[in-house]
Amino acid sequence: MPQFQEKSIVVTSERLSESYFRLVLESPRIAAQAQPGQFVMAACGSTLDPLLRRPFSIHRCLGDGTLHLLIKIVGKGTKLLADLEPGESCDLLGPLGKGFTLDPDKVSGLVGGGVGIAPLLFLVEQTNARYPQHQALHVFLGGQTGDDIRQLGQEFEQIGASVSLATDDGSLGMQGLVTQPFEEALGTLQQVFVCGPMAMMAATATLCQQANVPCQVSLESHMACGLGACLGCTVHGADGNYRHVCKHGPVLPAEEIAWIR
């Protein structure tokens, strides 16, 4: 699969909540190749601090040459990206890594926590487009507060997914962890796709393993290159060998990962 370094022009930047925003970038070459679960490495700012690119899942690709990112402001790189205005540019590398593999003949559960929701919208939209028959998509979204996930929840509903919400503060959906509604529904699911904080992914993976339902997780790791060159992005594999998140992942079968160490 070809990869590109593309100077991408910001089309819109939409603030969803205090710390979440959505960047839409004109990035035709990357967008044309992108698969759900893949990511880009984005250059932040134009100086040598911050130095490294930041990895972001591809959030949406509507076929119009644009690429959408859903970003949470956590540090200096994401802060600089939040300051980008339409017409300004951002240098992207992508599409990188291996994405989700969805079997259209099975009932799917998608579990997203916080900004881990990002790649799931792309997965649903692409599945709808490719397999109109595959309506069986259940989406479970968790967030700290309602503001973070309200609009995203609506968007999933608009494209036909059934949505369960949970927030830490109970301001939207049920109060508590998203793994609760997920666990209740797990009996009806035949394949599960997860992206979110490590603890949430570990819990979801364990539930799936117990229920013998295949589960794919999208991992995070500190990355320098995103290209398989620096060997920086390792995680512990269940077999004792390391996996490189940027090359073997970011999406990996849950059973390949050593969840507890």
Binding site: Q3, L48, L51, S221, H222, L227, T234
Partner: protein, 311 residues
């Protein structure tokens, strides 16, 4: 002088080995080259120095392995590599197909290991030279790095030279009191060239958890932050030791590269910049060419070591 009509001559050589231009990639920052095939015309590079290879495969350190620092990064990859056998069988076929020179970076735990590794790589088609990473702990000498004791560095050099007829480049560690003494010891050991610098040893701490940010506690600092130290060492070594020097450390632009050439480097390697700008090497080749045109110089060789000091 008027701007030249013909493209400047970028060729350089180290001993009998010629390079199309002085721009190489630094070991460990360019994988086995294939990873960058979509971003760089590999055929245009002066050389690729591949990730450090050991006799046996190594798994490397536990994560986290990388952390960003101001204008730099720390890494503690722990020399993860596929081992010499799989390197030759899996990685060399692609590299052999590239027009650029291929330099194999090697590492070991003992002087004998360096020698055996060199033997195994000698005669393999497509390998143009060896780069000896001496920033590794000598397990027989209590883990003191080969690269911090002149006698040990010289011994490694001699043993590699005795085991191969390939050009031998010894890569120096900057974590020393006297870089010229290290360089001289290695030159006296028969090295064909020196490359410097490897990473500075550094550390970062997560204040929330009060743990090191790297699982290995300490790691190697690289990137633009270290450029001034690298340039100083390259200048000191190039001015005092007679074998060619390859300059490394924080090079990200043609201007950076030219600084090293002026300081006396015959060639340069681009490391961390490949991560934040995968097209860096090609931009540097073009930029050196532009610089020579601006300065009215016909050949890159005319600017090597051209620093004017004193008045």
């Amino acid at each position: 002088m008027d701007s030249l009509k013909v493209a400047p001559d970028l060729r350089v050589s180290i001993g009998d080995l010629s390079f199309a231009n002085p721009v190489m990639t630094a070991s460990g920052t360019f994988g086995y080259a294939k990873e960058f095939n979509d971003f760089v015309q590999l055929d245009r590079l002066g050389a690729v120095a591949v990730k450090g290879i050991s006799l046996e495969p190594r798994a490397g350190n536990p994560p986290p392995r990388v952390v960003e620092t101001p204008a730099g990064m720390l890494n503690a990859i722990g020399l993860e590599n596929v081992g010499v056998a799989r390197f030759i069988s899996d990685k060399m076929p692609f590299l052999r197909g590239c027009k650029c020179r291929v330099i194999v970076n090697i590492l070991g735990d003992s002087i004998e290991e360096y020698a055996r590794l060199s033997e195994k790589l000698t005669g393999v088609a497509g390998i143009d030279g060896l780069e000896v990473n001496i920033s590794c702990p000598n397990v027989k000498k209590g883990g003191v790095a080969f690269g911090t004791v002149p006698e040990m560095a010289q011994a490694v050099t001699k043993s590699v030279k005795g085991a191969t007829d390939l050009p031998v480049i010894v890569k120096l560690s900057p974590n020393v009191s006297d870089i010229v003494a290290m360089a001289q010891a290695v030159a006296d050991g028969g090295a064909d060239a020196l490359s410097l610098i490897n990473t500075l040893i550094g550390m970062a701490i997560d204040t929330k958890t009060r743990t090191p940010k790297l699982a290995n506690i300490i790691g190697g600092l690289s990137g633009p932050a270290v450029k001034p130290v690298a340039l100083r060492m390259v200048w000191q070594v190039a001015s005092n030791v007679s074998i060619p020097v390859i300059g490394i450390g924080g090079i990200g632009t043609a201007e950076d590269a030219v600084e090293f050439l002026i300081a006396g480097a015959t060639a340069i390697q681009v490391g961390t910049a490949n991560f934040y700008n995968p097209g860096a090497t090609e931009a540097i080749i073009d930029g050196i060419s532009d610089y020579l045109v601006e300065q009215g110089q016909a050949s890159v060789r005319d600017i090597i070591g051209s620093l004017k000091v004193g008045n």
